[in-house]
Structure formats: C-alpha cells, structure tokens
C-alpha cells in the first residue's frame, strides 16, 4: 500500500469508529445500500454524497473525499432518512451531524452559519440580538409574565421560551398567545427571561457539539437555581434538546412540548373555546415533534377541539411530513442552499397545503411561521393561505 492509501485508511477508519459512539451507531455496519435514504432526502438530488453514498464511500476507504465535499451543508437534519432506513441506522445524528462536525473542525463552513454560531456563542442566541433584550417581548403584556428572578418562588411550570419566540417579531405573537392560554387555564408559570440561553439543539445538529455543551451547561446552571415541577416549551427543538440531549450532560428535568401539556388538559380547555374558527386547517408535523419524538396526535386533537374547524391532511403527513427547511441549522444555511437548489422546501410544503384545500396551515414550531409566510408569497394560489401556530388558533377561540 502507498503512504497516501495508508493515510486515507486511517481517516476513514477513525471517522467510522467515531460513529459507534452515537446511540445505535454500530447499525451502520448493516447498511444494505438500498438508497432509500438518498431517495427520500429532500435535497438528496443536490448532494454530491447523499447519506447512502457516504456509507459506500466509507466502505471503499474513500471517506476523505466526503470530508472534502461541501454538499453535506444541504442537509437540514429533518430525519426523513433516519425514519425510512430499513436497518434503523441513526443516519441524522450518527452520520450527517458527525460529518458536519468534521467539516466544522476544519473551519469549512458557509459564512451565514458561521455568523449564527458566533452569535450563539457571544450573545446566547443565533440572531445576534443583545441577551439583555431577551425578555423585551413581555413588555405591555397583561397580566404581566412572571420572571423567575423577580418572583423568587417555586412555580408549577417553567416555560422555556426559546430564541425565535423571544426575539423574532412574528413569533413573539405566538409567545403572547401562549401566555394568554396559560392564564386562561390558571397555570402557575414563570420564564427565565434574560437568564435563558439558546437551547443549542440546532447548533448541535449543525456540527457544533462544543457550543451545544456550553449553552446546555449555562441553561443547566440556571435551572438549578429555581424550583419547578416541569419544563414546558413551545419549541420542538428545545423540547428535543432538554428531553433527549441535556440528560447526557447530567441535566435532567421533566419536559413537555406545549401540545402534550395542553392535550392533557383538553377537557379543561374545551369549554373555553367559545369563538368559532370556520376554516379548513391542514396541520404540518414539525420534524422534531413528529418524526424525532413521535408526537402526532396531541396537536391534531387540540385543533379538532376548536369549533368550526375542518381538519384536513396534506399528502405528506405524520412520519412522511415535509420539513420546512429550518431545522438543524437550515435557518442559517438558507442562502447557501437556495443558491444551489433555487427552490425552498417551505414552498414545496405550502404548495401541498394549497392542494389540500386548506385555508389555514397550522404549525407547532417557531421556525415555521416566517418560513411558510415567506413561501406563501411566492407560491401561486397561496396568497390567501394563513399560517398560524396551533397556539394562536386556540387563543383566538378562547378570545381575550
């Protein structure tokens, strides 16, 4: 063997072995090369090395070529591949994320993503906003939203708000609506406000494990200062992080997504839903609520409980739901991906909503409203399509 062949062998080998550290990672040995993953991947057709091909490159000891390629940045960590793999290989966390980690270590990342990661590290949020302004959205909300630091007492629910729900003007609306619902149900809750940092999950999926750990540790320390029975979040990414990833770092708290939390109280909520919402509603399963964490029915039950609503399904739903393109770093790879694809996944999904006859596209993840609203402007026939979080629909039905 030549020296270079030996070197190639060790890059491939050491990477291969690192995959086993991921839960169920050894399953990668059993890949059938059926290419279902590459086929279902929404951007697979644009990748030089879609998941299945990455594995074949590994087997051919040519993995350094994969690490030289940039096409992994087309991956939005939507878990479609992981969902369909007949051998249940953890492709997203175990392969795609690991490749991104390697590229990141080599300093090889698109500049948009670089900014988001640098902002996350410096300001605790990927938007580059001042951490001091994280709770500015609660100004003027009545009754006032309790800040844990100010009320200095135990609460029932710690509401982990998240980055976009705190800073993005469109999602702040959803945050305020959720506060209304919590108050209507007399829930004893509090938020961390400025003390909250990004949950870190999208940064983790974009390859920045070290950054994720720093953010998680920061949040963990703050959690320790307060007493609460459980954490509820409006963000499936935060939900995923706190439920599945934080415990690996020794940060363990019971956590639920708002849909589960509210579904549990459905009997209490039903009598409050006084206003009718007369519309056909299609519900979009967010990747990190649906595919990744298996929560499909609670949001649907909540929607169906609203008088006047006709719930329809889009052709891709539940396990086959189409990603909006925002997760796993996708929000910060938008320009990069658009340059190569000239199509946005969010537009694809909006088209589907239109063909299902829906008047409202209901969502349950903070990345979705801005993405779908932008897409709706570009898609023919979608100009009258309304994008609403399930929370907002409930809040409208409950009224002021």
């Amino acid at each position: 063997m030549t020296t270079s062949a030996l070197e190639e062998l060790s890059i491939t080998e050491s990477f291969y072995e690192s995959l086993f550290e991921v839960e169920e990672g050894e399953r990668i040995r059993t890949c059938l090369q059926c290419a279902t993953c590459s086929g279902v991947c929404p951007f697979g057709y644009l990748m030089e090395y879609p998941p299945g091909k990455m594995i074949s490159m590994m087997r051919a000891n040519l993995f350094d070529k994969v690490l030289d390629s940039e096409s992994v940045w087309m991956c939005i960590s939507c878990y479609a591949c992981t969902e369909v793999c007949p051998k249940k290989i953890p492709l997203t966390p175990g392969l795609m994320t690991r490749v991104k980690e390697e590229l990141l270590l080599a300093g090889n990342i698109p500049s948009e993503l670089q900014s988001a990661l640098e902002f996350s590290q410096r300001y605790g949020n990927p938007l580059g906003e001042s951490p001091k302004k994280r709770a500015d959205w609660i100004r003027g909300v009545t009754p006032p939203i309790p800040l844990m630091k100010e009320i200095a007492r135990p609460v029932d629910i710690l509401w982990f708000v998240g980055d976009y729900p705190s800073y993005h003007p469109r999602i702040q609306q959803t945050s305020r609506a959720f506060a209304n619902i919590l108050n209507a149900l007399d829930i004893d809750f509090g938020i961390l406000g400025r003390e909250e940092s990004s949950d870190g999950d999208s940064q983790r999926l974009a390859g920045e494990k070290g950054l994720f750990e720093i953010l998680a540790e920061k949040n963990g320390k703050v959690f320790e200062n307060y007493q609460f029975n459980e954490i509820v979040t409006t963000d499936p990414h935060a939900y995923n992080a706190i439920k599945n990833e934080y415990p690996k770092l020794g940060i363990s708290y019971p956590v639920r997504h708002y849909s589960e939390f509210l579904f549990e109280r459905l009997e209490q909520i039903k009598p409050l839903l006084v206003n009718e919402v007369n519309a056909k509603v299609a519900y979009h399963d967010p990747c990190y609520l649906g595919r990744v964490n298996g929560i499909y029915d609670p949001p649907r039950e909540l929607i169906k409980a609203i008088p006047g609503i006709d719930l329809v399904e889009m052709s891709h739903n539940r396990e086959t739901s189409l990603c909006c393109g925002g997760g796993g770093g996708g929000m910060w790879l938008d320009g990069y991906q658009w340059e190569r694809a000239h199509v946005r996944l969010s537009e694809w999904r909006v088209r589907e909503a239109v063909s299902s006859g829906a008047e409202i596209l209901a969502v349950a993840c903070p990345y979705e409203p801005p993405r779908f609203e932008d897409a709706a402007k570009m898609v023919q026939g979608a100009s009258t399509l309304n994008i609403k979080d399930v929370i907002e629909l409930l809040a409208v039905s409950i009224g002021e």
Binding site: G335, W338, K377
Partner: protein, 317 residues
C-alpha cells in the same frame, strides 16, 4: 508658536480628495475662535495648481520627487520637519488612508497630542465621534500643537472652496533619503461595472439584508425605481457585490436624489459616503441606529417584508 491652523491636503492621481475641502472649511471656522491663519499644506510634484480653489490664507507647497505619490514615510518626514519648525496651533489630517497613516507617527515622533475622528469644532472645542458614531466626545484643544484627524460630514465642501486662488509659498522639504516605503503602482478599480456616483436613485443594502439571495429583492426594487443597487462594506466583504458598489469611507461618495438604505446602521464610515444625498430614507429595525440621525425619513419595519410589498404595490400600479 503661532495660532495658525495647518490643513494637510490629500490628493490622488491629480484629484484633490473631498476631505481636504471639509478640513479647509473646518479650519476657516475654527480660525475665527483661535485667531491665526489657515494654511493649506500641499505635498507633491508638479501639482501646485491644484491649490487654486483652496479656501485658505496661504498654501505651503512642498515639492520633491519622492512626494509625487503618497507614501507614509515621505509625508511623515516632510511634515515632522515642517511642524517642528513652524509650530502651528492645530494640524488637521483626514481620518483616511492618507491622514491616518501619518498623524499617529508624527504624534509619537514629536510627542504631540493626537485627537482622532473629529467631526467638527464648536466654540474652539473639538467634537469627536467614537463607537460607531454612538458616542460624542467634547474637549479642549490641547497645547502646544493639536494634531487632529477629521471625519467628513461636519462641514459643507463649498465652504472649503474659493474662486480667489490663495498665495502660494514654496517650502523646502527635508532630505528624503533612506525611505522605507516605495510606491510601485496604482491598482485601478474594475470599471466595467456601473458607476454608482452617477446614479440618481440608489437602493443600498447593509448587514440587515442577511443573506445573499435577499439581495435579489433589492436589485428588483432598484430596477423598478429606475436606479441601482449599492452596499455598505460588510456586504461587499462577503463578496455579494463587487467593490465598485461599495459606499463609504473605503468606497465611493454618492450624491443621488434618493438614497434608500435597507438594513444599514449608519456607522460613520458609511455616512461619510452619503452625506451629499438629497433624500435619505432608512429602514432599520433598530430605533437607535445612527442612520436615523441623518435620514430624512425612516421606518422600523422588516426590510424584506417591506421591499416585497413595495415591489408588489409598484408593479400593481
């Protein structure tokens, strides 16, 4: 020591740079308080006539072949010699690629105080801007000789010009041997692109545009308004637009009828380039963005949504 104010003139390729006239205007106004004459200091070779419209009491013309093209050490040595001999009260340099290359060195060499990024003078005090234009600093002019670098925008160019050519005095340079910086050649900008300094309508994008493909919206808006797109430095640094489209200190000065600024904060380096615009409209979600201090109209809305709406409405007629 005199009460004279020296203005270090900046010129490139036979053109006097605008900052020189800003400094002359500033010097004229300041001289009312300090007393003393305004002396324009022109270094170069065969360029005496460039001084004909300087609004100054005197021009000191210093000629040497090593001064034909600006190099930091030739200018530093010449001016150190001059200032040491003549002891003016104030020396104005541009806060520029020329002025900032020499002011600091002279300050350290002669042990004279240096004040940076001065915008204007008020009642004999300097007013400087730091921290991206967010903080103003006011202070007395230190003695014996205050070296000051100036930002544009505090004075009108016309006030630095005159139609009565000032008196020119030839001044001997020191020996300029053993120079360490050698000028080789100019690197011309690509001229194949549109000249934004000639455009009447400019749609300008800053960091707020966020991603390269959002640029398409700005380009479309510019098109339907009959103008062109330009940008602040961060956008050009990213490679999203060529340097010929850059507005500001390291770019171009524009004088359009309408300057529509999207997602631009208004740092001094950028403001420099747009001071002579007729109408500036700024869109920025940060209410404290300095650009609102010089804009005619402003709005704190999302620039992408707004641009899309504008395009939609204008096309609808």
């Amino acid at each position: 020591m005199t009460q004279d104010i020296y203005v270090i003139i900046e010129h490139l390729q036979g053109n006097i740079l605008d900052i020189s006239y800003v400094m002359l205007a500033a010097a004229k106004e300041l001289s009312v308080t300090t007393g003393g004459n305004v002396t324009a200091v022109l270094l170069g070779e065969n360029c005496k006539e460039l001084s004909s419209n300087f609004n100054a009491d005197t021009v000191l013309y210093i000629e040497h072949k090593s001064l034909a093209h600006f190099t930091s050490d030739a200018y530093q040595n010449t001016l150190t010699d001059l200032i040491e001999k003549e002891n003016p009260r104030v020396v104005l340099f541009g806060n520029t690629s020329i002025g900032s290359d020499i002011a600091g060195v002279i300050s350290a060499r002669l042990g004279l105080p240096l004040i940076n990024s001065c915008k204007k003078f008020e009642n004999g005090k300097y007013i400087s801007q730091i921290c991206g234009g967010k903080i103003n600093v006011e202070g007395d002019l230190p003695e014996p000789t205050a070296l000051i670098t100036m930002l544009p925008g505090g004075y009108k160019l016309e006030n630095g010009k005159t139609d009565k050519p000032p008196e020119i005095i030839n001044y001997d340079p020191p020996s300029l041997d053993n120079l360490n910086v050698m000028f080789i050649k100019y690197l011309e900008p690509e001229t194949s692109d549109v000249d934004i300094t000639q455009q009447k309508i400019l749609v300008s994008v800053g960091r707020g545009i966020q991603t390269e493909d959002n640029l398409d919206l700005a380009i479309e808006l510019a098109k339907i308004l009959g103008g062109t797109v330009c940008a602040s430095r961060p956008v050009v640094d990213q490679g999203w637009l060529p340097i010929s489209r850059m507005v500001g200190k390291s770019g171009k000065n524009v004088k359009p009828k309408l300057y529509f600024a999207l997602g631009i904060s208004g740092a001094p380096e950028h403001i420099e380039g747009i001071m002579d615009s007729e109408t500036i409209i700024a869109i920025n979600t940060d209410p404290s963005a300095p650009i609102f201090d010089i804009a005619t109209y402003g709005a704190e809305v999302d620039l992408l949504d707004l641009t899309e709406l504008l395009i939609e409405k204008i096309e609808a007629g």
